[in-house]
Symmetry: C2
Subunit: 593 residues, 2 copies
């Protein structure tokens, strides 16, 4: 496919984004202390006149007042904030090369190409910290500064800006925001905030295309993805990423090793620090907000996987293990880690320290290899923080329920409470095609116990590349897990959503119940399958139980007919209870007292 084809076809993605405009809610904004701090929210207008305000990840696409165009990209919301800080500079940037898109000089299909034309939107030059300065939210927080990004996040989470700053300064939270991705709406990842969800997209050598990936990104954020990782491994990696970044309202993560491997034709042993570093800079300049780096896969840990049931199941982990063994040398990622920190801090790229040795089966959970790597991630986390680089730690994979908590507890201890970012975990291996569910169970639990961000798993896991439906199913499943975790953690305000929906349910406000649902369209469609007529939308029953057996209807009638009596009895019981407490909560008085 040519770049021109990609452009033409990527435009189709606009339709999808626009379709998001009618999701049973209205776009609203919370106003900050300066005019350009406007935090998007989803407002559900209820039929009883009340409003429910929900967190909104869908970006400008769901604002009918904004005319979006994937060829132009999103407006650079944060640009002024970045420029006004005065600590960055624009520069010429690394020269783009055909191999950035997986095209060899000798390729009969590609040949030399002008990669300046990868994206038709506004011209831009990359930006970086002046003279190697740390321009990270961590550096600002350590200095006690509250950035517009922090204020934005504070409004978004209904917490104070000081709290946001302190959590970032302590390394307990990250605010991924590359200076070259000014299109992002700031968000925060940390255990004392709402649990976040990441959705993976990306083509593979076997299937998928640029426009599909842009569409998957807008689609994933429409359903609630807080960040998106572009895990492309096929051709057009650079161009795909450019389109995704310029159109993404959420932070974008990548695994630079994938592109580096493409540059050496898929031969792990030919990887080198130079190729890797070049790729990292390429992606920093494009605006990638966080990067998975598998620097904890050390030569001496690889033998610990020898007797595993499923070996090394992380792509990055297996590539680095192959490199270490082929060269009988320590990982170049580990050896050059400080140098990597010095690069990332000049763009404010956040580390996601990869768990290359995560377990790929129930049998391998919490084993020596996994825990050894975690200790090294703890070491790297300290180094990164010392360099002012924001850092989160990746975890799990396949872990049975009784072994999940140990993962969080140990990570929190070893990594000084750095945000934990886990895949699943999958709580059993027996259900390919349903691994969004096997892992949604583990994700909810690990979120409750302190994981800050959950990496989704789609129904296609282990079987193939997810399509749009799979992305939606994965995101919805993980939004459920994240919200269940917020409830269990007692996150302030989390239960308001449940309460609003339950009120609507009990009062047979069907339209409100649909509009408050995580997926209004499907909830409405399921109801209408059996009772499509308009009067059913106000009926005091549904087809599940029918009119005579609707417990909510009977329950309401009880209140109407016996409400006064019930309150009387209840008051009487409360009085008895007070008397009992006043008497010392004892059924029998002790003999001698």
């Amino acid at each position: 496919m040519t770049t021109q084809d990609a452009h033409a076809r990527a435009e189709n993605a606009t339709d999808t984004a626009a379709a998001g405009k009618a999701l049973g809610s209205h776009k609203g904004y919370l106003q900050g202390t300066r005019p350009d701090i406007r935090v998007p929210v989803r407002r559900v207008h209820l039929t009883n006149g009340k409003d429910v305000t929900l967190y909104d990840t869908s970006g400008p696409y769901t604002d009918p007042a904004i005319d979006t165009d994937v060829r132009r990209g999103l407006a650079p919301l944060r640009e002024n904030w970045i420029v006004q800080r005065g600590d960055t500079e624009e520069y010429a940037g690394r020269e783009l090369r055909p191999e950035d898109d997986g095209i060899k000089h000798t390729s009969p299909r590609g040949g030399l190409r002008n990669l300046d034309a990868v994206f038709p939107g506004r011209p831009r030059q990359p930006r970086r910290g002046r003279n190697g300065a740390s321009v990270t939210q961590l550096a600002y927080a350590k200095r006690g500064e509250i950035t517009p990004e922090m204020e934005f996040v504070a409004l978004r989470e209904n917490l104070s800006a000081e709290f946001v700053r302190d959590e970032i300064a302590a390394g307990r939270a990250v605010l991924p925001a590359n200076v070259n991705h000014p299109e992002t709406e700031p968000m925060i990842i940390g255990k004392n905030f709402l649990v976040k969800v990441n959705a993976n997209i990306g083509n593979s050598a076997v299937t998928s295309s640029i426009e599909e990936e842009v569409e998957k990104m807008t689609w994933a954020t429409r359903w609630g993805a807080d960040t998106v990782m572009d895990l492309s491994t096929g051709r057009n990696i650079h161009t795909t990423r450019e389109w995704v970044l310029r159109n993404s309202p959420v932070p974008i993560g990548t695994v630079p090793l994938y592109q580096a491997l493409e540059k050496v034709d898929g031969k792990a042993e030919e990887l080198s620090w130079e190729v890797y570093k070049d790729t990292v800079i390429e992606q920093c300049e494009q605006g990638v907000d966080y990067m998975t780096v598998h620097a904890g896969v050390l030569l001496r840990y690889v033998p610990l996987t020898a007797r595993r049931k499923t070996g090394i199941v992380s792509r990055g982990g297996s590539i680095m293990a192959a490199w270490c063994l082929a060269h009988h040398k320590e990982s170049f990622l580990y050896e050059h880690f400080s140098e990597l920190c010095e690069i990332l801090r000049t763009y404010d790229v956040t580390f996601s320290l990869g768990d290359g040795l995560r377990p790929g089966s129930i049998a391998d959970a919490n084993d020596a290899a996994q825990m050894a790597e975690l200790d090294t991630l703890g070491e790297l986390n300290r180094i990164a923080k010392a360099h002012d680089v924001q850092t989160m730690i990746e975890g799990p994979g396949h872990v049975p329920m009784h072994k999940i908590k140990e993962n969080v507890d140990r990570q929190q201890e070893v990594c000084e409470e750095a945000p934990f970012y886990t895949l699943g975990p999958l709580t059993t291996d027996i259900a390919p095609a349903y691994d969004h569910i096997t892992s949604g169970i583990g994700a909810a639990m690990i979120g409750w116990w302190g994981t800050a961000m959950l990496c989704y798993v789609t129904p296609k896991e282990h079987l193939g590349l997810p399509d749009k439906d799979d992305v939606k199913t994965g995101v919805i499943t993980y939004k459920i897990a994240a919200h269940a975790a917020d409830l269990a953690k007692g996150h302030p305000g989390a239960q308001q959503w449940d309460d609003a929906l339950s009120d609507a349910r009990f009062e047979f406000r069907w339209e409100d119940q649909f509009n408050l649902a995580l997926d209004p369209e499907t909830a409405r469609a399921f109801h209408d399958e059996t009772l499509p007529a308009e009067p059913a939308k106000t009926a005091h029953f549904c087809s599940m139980c029918g009119p005579k057996f609707c417990s909510m209807k009977i329950s309401q009638e009880i209140r109407e007919q016996h409400g006064a009596t019930m309150e009387e009895v209840e008051a009487g019981m409360a009085e008895k209870s007070r008397e009992f407490a006043a008497a010392g909560n004892r059924v029998y008085l002790p003999l001698a007292d």
Copy 2:
């Protein structure tokens, strides 16, 4: 619809059942001490020559050697066992009446009907304990007897028959097996056995028909439902139930109150002990294996629900609450509970003591109403056990994760470890259309913590009556939850399944991976969506990562190329570890020692 129509259309259900014969596995049997004890298993023949044996709930339908016919019903597997015990007698039974099928004498559509013709299969008379004798598995277990049913279950669970007997005798497990449902393959419900799954079927006044319900039953058991509850509330309740029972290889549960309410035209206040008792006997004679009885909803508890967000959400609970308030009298189910025990023990019908006051929203979880009723269920459990009636206790509904464990712990304490049988719990209210997932999370957790059987929730919960697809999705989701719980409980043998599948995955035995999956058809279909060609079934990658990025492939290559080195290093590390341990696990020797 006439009975004749129902007969004709119900035959279609045979096709579905037959379709179950090719599920990537073969029917096998474990032979007991007598020729007629043959325990069905699902044997998956792997391409590497090994066999994996899995628990099988699908009944004779998946045995190609057995010619099933829904008009004839299943063979009465347990009949000889029941007859040979010599403690039961056949008798004329209660006379069938048109109102048993919801047809009034004056009904213009129905009129008087010959209900003898409700099922065309073998003629049968109901059976009961001679002279009111207890013919329950609990009574036999208390006397130290091991019945063929217990031996069957012991083989099925790979445990000793003595253990099975002792768990039943202690009231920690139930083996639901009405003497009038000899078609069942015995199964056991208790925390020291595999976690079980119940699927609800049943028509409502709004939709559905007899043949659909028979088909849903065979469909649910094909995917792994251990019991099925027929919750029909519309017309043809009696006939639907007869068809379901005569064709069901798993225990059937009901809520007799639903049919009783139909007999009094849906007017809760017109219910009476007499109508209820008559309905219970009708269902005992048909062969219902367990009955939900909401005898814990006491008059004085109803006011405790007055300030709830969603009131009373159990159908049975709301009906009984309405009755209690209308009459200002204590529940007739509570008042006549001992009499009910005396009926149930002569058929070996198991109590499922209903949680009529379960919470219907996150806000109402673990509240005073719920816990007050649980205390009463504990009292009723003791009475039932004293009458030799097997008993389990129903629980949850909507409960956030951090409040789940309290439910099991308290139930186990109050109810002397009687099996807990819970709906979900749903861990959030915000996702109608995905409540199989919101509840699958809670179900896995509550199963881990000691719940013996999980009542499934389908995607249609709160929205409409589930269809066949919903039934399958609900069952698969709950099989995942149950198996995840078995793993977390360390149930002996549970992990073999995961290990076999993970081995197949690591060795790229795709066919084995599909056949070992909970849902082989969908796993295969998902894989084939992107790589349909036959060679892809042996390829060392799938479309998710493509050939260059397949971690399992790289991991295998590492083992092939560096296996010897890795084992050497590993052995060296183990040696070092032994030396370290021998030196007292101290890094530095203490100064004075």
